[in-house]
């Protein structure tokens, strides 16, 4: 079942690999093929970003890809069509990621329905707090069979974290640091401590991201996270050598080599 997040977390070896693509970068066809390459080379979950003009939580690499995709005229409906096509022939659950103005413009209900229709397993909207504007956003998407994936960050209050986790279906996305997306050389202690705090609260599986850029990062998170998210680094590799280079890196991550100067 391509939209079975729980089953994926149960069946696949931990930590799962979650990858990210900006739909329509460099074009729709190529980004779709990149998703296929990712899944063939070990990605267990793929986050597909609907490009937005003002992607607040993204660093320069992903922001530039958003910009380029929009310059090519990519629209949300194109992304849903791409997800639909992918869910028909990829085993990995696909997650739609975007910013709040895209679903707001479309209408949240219509957006949730479009996600479900396309076969998306989950949705990530970093700038839509789970309870803002009196909304039960997780509940809305759940009614359509799509999991709401919250993004939790170091510094957040315990009480808020518990409330979010209690309402989460699917899994929780934990950022290992505060900041925008982007590859980093090392994973900080504060991030690992926060990850530990989240895991102490019994709840859904936990994916860790922000800064993951080397196979040894994946290894370092083996017993600490159920999944790791690799975003900007894969885009940098794509920019340097296309989907082939992305696939090679994911294979390295899958093997979790004992020593690796990584990956370029």
């Amino acid at each position: 079942m391509p939209n079975d997040i729980a089953g994926t977390f149960l069946r696949r070896p931990k930590p799962l690999l979650m990858t990210h693509v900006v739909a329509g970068y460099p074009d729709l066809d190529e980004s779709r093929k990149t998703v296929e390459t990712m899944v063939e080379n070990g990605a267990d979950l793929v986050e597909i970003q609907i490009p937005f003009t003002d992607p607040l939580a993204d660093g320069p690499v992903i922001t530039a890809a958003n910009r380029a995709a929009l310059a090519r005229g990519v629209r949300p409906k194109d992304v849903f069509a791409m997800v639909r096509r992918l869910t028909q022939n990829t085993a990995a659950p696909l997650l739609v990621m975007t910013y709040a103005n895209i679903p707001h413009r479309m209408g949240f209900e219509r957006f949730a329905s479009a996600c479900a229709e396309a076969g998306a397993a989950g949705v990530i909207i970093p700038d839509l707090a789970f309870d803002e504007a009196g909304g039960d956003w997780p509940g809305l998407f759940r009614r359509y069979g799509t999991a709401w994936i919250p993004v939790l960050s170091p510094g957040m209050q315990e009480e808020r974290m518990r409330r979010i986790l209690a309402g989460t279906s699917g899994f929780a996305y934990v950022t290992l640091r505060t900041g925008t997306t982007g590859a980093r050389l090392r994973i900080g202690k504060a991030g690992l401590d926060f990850l530990g705090r989240v895991r102490e609260v019994s709840g859904p599986p936990v994916a860790a991201g922000f800064g993951i850029s080397r196979p040894e990062h994946v290894r370092a998170l083996r017993n600490k996270a159920d999944a790791v998210v690799i975003g900007s680094r894969l885009l940098e590799l794509y920019n340097a050598g296309g989907a082939k280079k992305v696939g090679a890196f994911l294979r390295l991550c899958r093997r979790e080599p004992e020593s690796s100067s990584a990956s370029g």
Binding site: L56, D127, G134, G135, M156, T178
Partner: protein
């Protein structure tokens, strides 16, 4: 599901406002809100703010009767609220001083800000210099080119100016860059947002710091034995000078409030910044729900105005609510009309307004003509026009100005 009137009403103005940010910003916004709520009525804080407003910013600013402009318009009496006489040349300093005192009490050592025309950046640079705080100002690359004099002034005050090369390379992108920097440096840094927008608590806090404008107008009119103004006119970029003027009068239904948007060079997308027009509709961008210029998919449209301070795609959520409730009227003035307003105020009153304020002047003079002499209009001259000299002179006196610039460049070499 629709965005409904939420329970946490203080975060919203009607359906607008809110705190639509990544979770990682929530603790910083909560810290700011707590500091603000605990200090806003603290007598020590209020005393300190009043003193620094008087001694450093030069408040109260005058309310001047514009005798010649009134005669020229041939209608109601026109008064000018001279925010252009506040230190650093614009109303922006009102909010800056409030937030800097807050930031110091929160133990922050670094201030970041965004700026379009440079008026806000300049006020922040001045405030940071005065209080010994490190300062970084994000500015769109295009705005840096348009507002070189302000860039120089900010730099000489010790601020670091970061050119923003993303997107439309103007104010909107500077806001995004500042928010991203803030996300990276939450521990040490206060983001000194320059208008009554962004995530809660900024819209409410900035409006409150700016309301000093309207409160002074009230007192100053009373001293002239005028019980209330009939019409208030202010330009609207983000909305801080207009809300600052309007807010103390909003409860009095007899006072008309008119916000003047940038009509730019035409009505096509990308040629103007009229949020309450054909391309503006509610959206969630940069942390808040308000009207934004956007396309059918929710992508933010580029903007244009001759004034670098008005070409912003969003607008204060409080103004969005006041618009929907029809409590504030909005009109648009074109680049050309604004330049005429600039020339007119200079020629009639000896005051060179910022091109932003020139939008308000242009509309005000037109509207005044239709009102009887017994009525009173107050136009907010939100800033002075030195910074716009390069733009205005090129438009109004092209030949001489270009010759002067060429001559200066030759001499510099």
């Amino acid at each position: 599901m629709r965005i409904t009137r939420p329970r946490a009403r203080s975060r919203f103005f009607g359906r607008y406002g809110g705190r639509f940010v990544p979770e990682m910003l929530v603790p910083a916004l909560e810290e700011l809100e707590e500091a603000y709520l605990s200090l806003r009525n603290n007598p020590g804080f209020k005393r300190e703010l009043a003193r620094i407003r008087r001694d450093f910013a030069g408040r109260p600013t005058p309310l001047a009767f514009a005798e010649n402009l009134t005669r020229k318009a041939g209608g109601c009496r026109i008064y000018l609220k001279m925010e252009c006489l506040a230190h650093t040349g614009a109303h922006k300093i009102n909010n800056v001083l409030g937030q800097i005192l807050l930031a110091r009490r929160m133990g922050k050592t670094r201030i970041i800000a965004e700026t379009g025309a440079g008026q806000h950046g300049l006020a922040v640079a001045a405030g940071a210099a005065r209080f010994g705080l490190r300062c970084t100002v994000f500015m769109g690359e295009i705005d840096m080119r348009r507002q070189r004099p302000n860039v120089f002034a900010m730099e000489i005050m010790g601020a670091e100016i970061v050119p923003v090369r993303d997107g439309s390379r103007t104010l909107k992108d500077a806001v995004t860059a500042a928010l991203k920097d803030w996300i990276e440096h939450l521990d040490t840094t206060h983001y000194l947002l320059g208008s009554a927008l962004g995530p809660h608590p900024y819209p409410r806090m900035v409006r409150e710091f700016q309301s000093v404008i309207g409160r002074e107008v009230k007192r100053q009119l009373a001293a002239l034995r005028i019980s209330r103004p009939d019409i208030l006119v202010a330009c609207v970029g983000g909305g801080s000078n207009s809300l600052g003027l309007f807010h103390p009068f909003l409860r009095n239904g007899k006072v008309r409030c008119v916000g003047v948007e940038a009509g730019g060079r035409g009505s096509r997308p990308g040629d103007h910044a009229v949020r309450f027009g054909a391309h503006g509709r509610p959206g969630i961008v940069q942390g808040y729900l308000s009207y934004f210029l956007q396309d059918r998919d929710g992508q933010i449209l580029p903007t244009h105005s001759v004034s670098a301070g008005l070409d912003y795609a969003g607008i204060s959520p409080e103004l969005a609510d006041l618009h929907d409730r029809k409590r504030v009227e909005f009109v648009a003035v074109t680049d050309r009309e604004a330049l005429e307003g600039y020339r007119l105020l200079a020629a009639e009153e000896g005051i060179i307004p910022a091109l932003e304020s020139a939008h308000a002047v242009a509309y005000g003079v037109k509207a005044a003509a239709d009102l009887p002499r017994s009525r009173v209009m107050v136009i907010n001259i939100s800033g002075r026009g030195d910074k716009d000299l390069f733009i205005a002179a090129r438009a109004l006196d092209r030949g001489n100005w270009l010759a002067f610039l060429k001559d200066e460049a030759d001499r510099a070499e």
